[in-house]
């Protein structure tokens, strides 16, 4: 059992995402939010979504951006 656990940890550590992969993920996340913002702006301009909801998406965007940027910095340090 103990040997199995050690093996598992080794395998998982080996498969863990590299710094480069993490950075790529984070920048993908940022560009995803760029597109989201554009989509929300168009929808709001069309009157398809209420201003309150657009505001909620922007708040979510800000939070997600902050997290992704922190990840980018961390990846750069590594």
């Amino acid at each position: 059992m103990a040997r199995l656990r050690i093996a598992l940890v080794v395998v998982l550590a080996g498969c863990g995402p590299s710094a480069a992969k993490q950075a790529a993920d984070a920048s993908e996340e940022l560009s995803s939010w760029d597109s989201t913002a554009r989509l929300v702006n168009t929808a709001q301009a069309r009157g398809a979504i209420p201003a309150g909801f657009a505001e909620q998406v922007r708040r979510a965007e800000a939070e997600a951006r902050a997290a992704a940027e922190a990840k980018l910095r961390k990846a750069a340090v590594r």
Partner: protein, 404 residues
């Protein structure tokens, strides 16, 4: 009630009751990230759940036993504890996810943060169960759930390449990001094959007093209801694939999901999305909370029945009375409901062998089913999906946890 009406009602229940937080979130994420490519996972999940629902109904109609009751008497308490704990734990997490779904719908509509809604929503679900009857919970929620057909309308409005979607019903290997791909695949399968679905269905068949004359209805309802229900989930995937995928938008927050219906249907789409999310998740929360009560009561021999007055089935009532506020509290903590949902679905996939193999042992036991034991196809199909999903989940979940 005429049989034809019952079949129709059963299929409607299947359609209206299919979509819930898990299938909605996983299909939207998959469509956004991988386009149509993961449609096969929904298809596979539907085949598996249709077989399981048919089995649960057949078992109830022929043996007059509910599943937990039969598992306890057939396997003894120690072995029964394994599926009991697995199904209970997974169902509880899914319950929290559904409450989260309702709360988000309310947040989108009102602007008040979702955490604030968690306890009121849990209380409202509780009130419906406290006052309601089984028929109301089962049929009422599903009829209202037909609003989720909005996704099918939205998908057609977007004019998707039907041939391409159909081609993706066959599994294919990912070109990139395989860790994410397989994690999403198992989450989708877990969302379709939630054990609460067939446990609830079996309890319902016993509550409604099914006998062998219902076997034909059961087969039709399981097959057609789940297939049409699955169409709704595929429609969600198509909407996300058409709206979000070309823009490179990945669904990392719930707030992005309404856009898949706003783009084809405008303001109506926004309203329909909120209604769909709220009703589908509320209906699922009712069913799951009730199923947790059934599970405990039938496993331990307590008096049970949603049609009894609460004081006539006190411990049965106690289970949902305790579980609902606890599940509400999970959401109050402010945990990301989308992450919670998707993770619960992956865990469901992981637990499939434990939840499905005991069921298959029962389904092959002539002491319960006489001549009507399972055919080779149902055994093989369910086992194949269950074990493959579990093995993939075993690899994909740790990878996903490390990635985020």
């Amino acid at each position: 009630m005429s049989k034809l009406l019952e079949i129709a009602l059963g299929i409607v229940t299947g359609i209206g009751g299919f979509l819930e937080a898990g299938s909605l979130a996983t299909a939207a994420q998959a469509g956004a990230t991988f386009g149509f490519q993961l449609a096969w996972a929904i298809g596979l999940g539907i085949i598996c759940i249709a077989f399981l629902i048919e089995m649960a109904g057949r078992f109830a109609a022929v043996s007059r036993h509910t599943l937990p009751d039969a598992m306890r008497e057939r396997f003894g308490i120690r072995f029964f504890l394994v599926p009991l704990v697995a199904v209970g734990l997974v169902s509880f997490l899914v319950l929290a996810s559904e409450i989260g779904g309702v709360c988000l719908a309310l947040q989108f509509a009102s602007g008040i943060g979702f955490q604030w809604w968690a306890l009121p929503v849990a209380a409202l679900v509780w009130l419906f169960l406290w006052k309601g009857t089984f028929g109301m919970v089962e049929k009422g929620a599903s009829l209202l759930g037909l609003v989720t057909l909005a996704f099918v309308v939205g998908a057609f409005r977007l004019d998707p390449p039907v041939g391409q979607v159909a081609a993706r019903l066959l599994p294919s290997l990912p070109q990139q990001d395989s860790a994410k791909y397989w994690f999403m695949a198992v989450s989708i399968i877990g969302a379709s094959v939630s054990p609460y679905l067939f446990y609830f269905y079996s309890a319902g068949a016993v509550e409604d007093g099914w006998d062998v004359s219902y076997l034909g209805i059961n087969r039709l309802v399981a097959g057609l209801g789940m297939t049409f229900g699955g169409v709704v989930a595929i429609a969600v995937l198509v909407c996300a694939a058409m709206v979000l995928h070309p823009l490179g938008i990945q669904v990392s927050r719930y707030e992005q999901i309404p856009l898949i219906l706003v783009t084809p249907l405008g303001r109506t789409g926004f309203v329909l999305f909120i209604a769909s999310l709220a009703i589908a998740c509320f209906g699922a929360a009712l069913e799951i909370a009730l199923q947790l009560s059934y599970l405990a009561a039938q496993g331990f021999g307590w008096r049970w029945g949603e049609n009894l007055r609460p004081r006539e089935a006190a411990r049965f009532t106690l289970v949902y009375t305790v579980c609902l506020p606890l599940a509400g509290l999970v959401i109050v903590t402010g945990i990301d409901p989308l992450k919670l949902t998707v993770f619960s679905m992956a865990l469901t996939a992981l637990s499939l062998p434990v939840t499905v193999v005991p069921l298959l042992v029962l389904m092959n036991d002539p002491t319960y089913l006489g001549e009507r034991t399972n055919g080779w196809l149902s055994n093989a199909a369910v086992l194949a999906v269950g074990f493959v999903a579990c093995v993939v989940a075993l690899v994909a979940i740790p990878l996903q946890l490390m990635g985020s």
